[in-house]
Symmetry: C3
Subunit: 310 residues, 3 copies
Amino acid sequence: MATGYFFSHRHILGIDHLSVDDIDHILTTAESFKEISFRPIKKVPTLRGNTIINLFFEPSTRTRLSFEIAAKRMSADTFSISTSTSSATKGETLIDTARNITAMQPDIIVIRHSFSGAPHMLTRYVNAAVINAGDGTHEHPSQALLDMLTVREHKGRLDGLKVAIIGDILHSRVAHSDILGFTRMGSQVFVYGPSTLIPPDLDSLGATVCKSLKEAVQDADVVMTLRIQKERQDDPLLPSFREYARFYGVNREVASWAKPDGLIMHPGPINRGIELMPDVADGPQSVILDQVTNGVAVRMALLYLVMGNS
Amino acid sequence: MATGYFFSHRHILGIDHLSVDDIDHILTTAESFKEISFRPIKKVPTLRGNTIINLFFEPSTRTRLSFEIAAKRMSADTFSISTSTSSATKGETLIDTARNITAMQPDIIVIRHSFSGAPHMLTRYVNAAVINAGDGTHEHPSQALLDMLTVREHKGRLDGLKVAIIGDILHSRVAHSDILGFTRMGSQVFVYGPSTLIPPDLDSLGATVCKSLKEAVQDADVVMTLRIQKERQDDPLLPSFREYARFYGVNREVASWAKPDGLIMHPGPINRGIELMPDVADGPQSVILDQVTNGVAVRMALLYLVMGNS
Amino acid sequence: MATGYFFSHRHILGIDHLSVDDIDHILTTAESFKEISFRPIKKVPTLRGNTIINLFFEPSTRTRLSFEIAAKRMSADTFSISTSTSSATKGETLIDTARNITAMQPDIIVIRHSFSGAPHMLTRYVNAAVINAGDGTHEHPSQALLDMLTVREHKGRLDGLKVAIIGDILHSRVAHSDILGFTRMGSQVFVYGPSTLIPPDLDSLGATVCKSLKEAVQDADVVMTLRIQKERQDDPLLPSFREYARFYGVNREVASWAKPDGLIMHPGPINRGIELMPDVADGPQSVILDQVTNGVAVRMALLYLVMGNS
């Protein structure tokens, strides 16, 4: 890391805003927090008396739980607001909600919203630090950071790795953040999925669009499958589940194309038998549960860093 | 305040039960707690080990959040029960719910219920202190107290002020509590709204019903607009939103009728463009966000006082 | 209790797994914790820094609240996940949910699920201690333990008592756990209900099926009525509510058949006027609210004991 580095971000809106040094520092901070979750007393007083509001405009169990556990293990006070975007009238309500919440003096707002850019807009109306927990099809930075932490732990580095991302790239904020993060850290990212679900501008992000599943997975250090969104089953862009599983699902044969020590990853929750077969999800190459464990550590690090600690 | 005064209320059911000295004491206590929310460590041990149950039979995000934040900043343990009145069979269930909850030894129950008088009934069945967070069309005392605190902060006093309340007075527990509170503290309250939404007995509460918006707002120290309840859109008592905005909405011209330093207030959430125009809501006279900030302070004071502190 | 006894259970899946010494030890531990809820500061540091996840696949207000209060009075950090079984696809999702949650290093998972055996299955996939908060029609051990604690407090013993259980035995996990518990502790259990709702194998559990309500209740030390599940109103196995109240409801006359100091119990929430008449529910023999109070104490004991304390 560059001499004299210090973490200067007040908000975590996306991987796009983070430098190589920033990502390195977040991952190293997360590593140092990880062991707290393995102590008998899983709690440090670091954020005692801080108010953290989880403002979720989209349903989420896992990400919300991960942020809540991270916050309480740092001794912060957490509050959850779950609401549906449908009940909100355009963007105006988000602004009023933001202003109201900020008038209660929170230190950090963790926001998930179906509109891309909502967290960024929020920063203009609140005094609190804002962490993006997923905005539309835009970014999901804490997911990409936990993915990078997991790979770095297993491979010792991120640069020079081949990372394959398989599935619906077009609608996936996870894919977007991962492509930004892994390429920035020196990995080469190869993507593959139904051609209707590959956005046209991937080259500009530094990712290589592959013509076959084999081309993407061959000799990969990391094979990341994306969740197929079942609620979008009737979308004409999407093949049937049976077809998807056959042509895009990662089964044992597909996994064997990767390096022998290649990692199998998935952001969860898995549709077993569709995008990922159970024997691969639960096989020796899978690090899917490490991702979950690292999610808590990464979120502890983010909460810590945006509060101005370093 | 009278010599030898002490706060003797076990419950906060309505402004109607509070004397001038009580209100003064609550506001002064709230002022002293307010700075806690501006500290880096927003937490005092005052209510550590106390159990506070938020029992909300009507949906609420803001009031519930405000009470929860107040409780946790006092180090209390909080528990939220949200339920819909529709699933409850008449009043009996409230009694059984109350008895069951009290058998778990809570110290304070904060209740919101669609039946006027529900908090009062609750006091007969529980050992805990009861705080009314809004009951039917009856009272919402913590809202009126935060309104009074906000005005007192800005004007230095409550007596001798002209307070205009505009909107659906008939269905508004906020209006009812505010009328009781401000008149008790020596303000003169003027109300205006659709004639179908003005209750007949307002004179007996000490409020003056005006014949025009101008009469109500002219030279006012405080202009408070009420939220129009959108879910009651088909109510024949209610004009269309367009009509409402035109004849009862507070726009810049209306606001200019008030004193130059007159305050614009709203209990939130605002229907922008209906009862209050955005440029007024966000203008220099608006103290709407101060109301939210003071809400936490007032609720900290109420939790503190009903626990027998003074 | 046998010399050298120590509590060896990592999980609390059902009364069936607990010996006489285990039950004695849990009840005695619960008794010692009970007074904490009556202190001004209702909090001990025993489980500070422990992570407890309430994983409720069935709606529950009371049991969830009781576990949450128990956990926070022991200073644990609690997290609630409420989800409906309907949104889960078969058993697989429970396993994936379990694995994901365990990857966040919880110490205890409290689970309620509509599938009998779900908590047992959970133990194979998690590192955490598992407490069954009700699984299908199988067991609800913490309810039976609080029932036994309540009877033991009032009667000084459990052996040699006559316990009558009235109602829908077939679908009641409470009845099942109570029959197992009270018979194990030396009580004699007599059951009565609509013949369609009496399972065929009750004798093997040590319970006596009665031919009349009078036979069951006559000279009983304990009369426990079960909740009729109103949502199952159209079930052809179930008589109409009017008929149920007439032939199976416990009214003052029925209660008079028990011993003069016989206890009236109900797991709550009561359908007043159906399975239990209000004057009996609120009468001098009723210990229904003691059950609720003891619920918190029993759950504190269970959380304490599964953490390896003794």
